[in-house]
Amino acid sequence: MTSPVRLGLLRLTDSAPAVLADAEGLYAAAGLDVALQIEPSWANVADKLAWGKLDAAIMLPPLALAAVAGLRGMRTRLRVTMGISQGGNAVVVGRAAAAALPEVMPPDAAAAGRALGAWLRNQAAPPRFAVVHVFSTHNLLLRHWLAACGVDPDRDIETVVVPPERVVETLAAGQIAGFCAGAPWGDYAAETGTGRVVLGSSAIRRRHPEKCLALAAGWAERQPEAAKALAVALYRAQCLCDLPDRAAMLAALLANRLGLPETATRGALPGGTGLEQIGFAAAARLDPGDALWCLREMRRWGWLDADQDIAALAAETYQPVALEAWS
């Protein structure tokens, strides 16, 4: 291989397999030279994949689909070849809502949603909720949950986008009433007394896929062997990330390499005591039905034209890699 594979990621707990594969030499073991590129925003990841500045990235599935559909302004050729993680997001509210909610939140999503909905509809102006990107799993899950509980996510709340690493400070500053964000930020808000966790995202949709591996289609076509080797290395890393024995070490690694708060990061890893734990290897094998779920939700909110062929879009984007380990 001539030049290193440029793999983009954000500072999040579920970037763990990409970071661990680097630390453990799993890329090299798969015959790959991989350069990790930590990006400040999802928009950067999408743009760099589109314009050949990244070969691959840990990505939000709805954003990959939106980029392929041209919802960001230009149709981008991307391929999602494997899942990276499942679960791990949290819905958190600030002090105003927290004080109005029952002392013990009902654990099931429907009852928790009704309790929050009652508070939401009592406010003079729609309270602001932050998600990490419009085309994020977080936004789709939050809207899905609220709508199922009789809340209109277009009228009863106002949605804004705040970068994950800033949601806690934005909540503390009173600029938002709550958020839905990935680990470690939900547990971190609780740990710092900034917010109260209302629900884990796995209660909204069990084992929901969270991050995926997206490849620039041009790169994947030129380097099919490298594309497969990348999946092999990441899958091996995923298996290691699932081991509770290694979680403390992994949390320290992520704190060091990505600058994440270590305790909250540990809480979201397997065996942790946080709100919910992220699953890795179980997410690896893609279910094309998940792409359809995302696309149906996006169409439901009017983001996709009703006549858009979502099955074709899903098939174009989701092209699962076939690994022997999965057969």
Binding site: P40, A43, H133, V134, D154, V160, P163
Partner: protein, 239 residues
């Protein structure tokens, strides 16, 4: 060396280097294409093109604002610190938002219409699909542009081109400084020079340091520069 920001870019430290070269750039060729193109495309309504600039690098933002403000058909405002990007767009109602790509809150501009049914204007990333090399330059420079509402690419491109040139120059200057600094740091050059002096001139460590300082004062240069010269001279003698 003085007055020439690029001379000997390896070992010269000048705190005013970015300001210097950015200002020079703003004063020279950058303004021209901007003005020319804006004149030919001018808004049909006769209203100025309103630009919102989101750049946390105060120095670069200052120069870019000054550069853009030269064009009378352009109105520029900078985002207030701590303000959410979406709020700034709602408050300023710009036609174009120029964003430093290192800002994590750039995601806030994506799909504003999808985020809120009450926001009438779509906000769309500027992309020139017919000019991929320009798009590559844009991303390499680390600045991007979002159109708010109906703005034509012909209006935006000269503005973005000016920003790209400025960001690129800033990046180059910054990289030159970082390279020089890290080279000195990596080699721990002062310590190495002292070690050489201790060995070759039979000095104690404080004497070696005083020697470096004396040379620096005599030649009005900084100690690391002198140290680098010592190390380089020594390397030449003992390859």
């Amino acid at each position: 060396m003085p007055g020439c920001p690029h001379a000997g870019s390896g070992a010269v430290f000048r705190a005013d280097m970015p300001r210097d070269s950015l200002d020079k750039l703003a004063a020279s060729r950058l303004a021209r294409p901007l003005l020319r193109n804006r004149r030919t495309t001018g808004r049909a309504t006769g209203e100025p093109l309103k630009i919102l600039l989101a750049d946390d690098d105060a120095e670069r933002a200052r120069v870019l604002m000054r550069l853009l403000a030269r064009d009378p058909s352009v109105q520029v405002a900078a985002i207030e610190p701590g303000m959410l990007l979406a709020d700034a767009v709602a408050a300023h109602r710009p036609d174009v938002v120029l964003v430093d790509m290192t800002r994590p809150d750039r995601d806030a501009l994506e799909g504003l219409r999808q985020l809120s049914a009450t926001r009438p204007h779509p906000v769309v990333l500027f992309v020139d699909e017919d000019d991929p090399s320009f798009m590559q330059e844009v991303i390499d420079a680390g600045v991007c542009s979002y159109n708010v509402g109906s703005v034509t690419p012909a209006e935006v491109k000269p503005v973005l081109r000016a920003a790209v040139a400025l960001f690129r120059r800033h990046l180059q200057t910054h990289q030159a400084l970082t390279a020089a600094e890290s080279r000195l740091r990596e080699r721990d050059v002062v310590d190495r020079a002292k070690a050489i002096l201790i060995r070759t001139r039979k000095l104690s460590e404080p004497e070696a340091y005083r020697w470096l300082r004396r040379q620096a004062m005599a030649s009005a240069r900084r100690i690391p520069e002198i140290a680098l010269a010592v190390v380089q001279a020594h390397e030449k003698e003992t390859p």
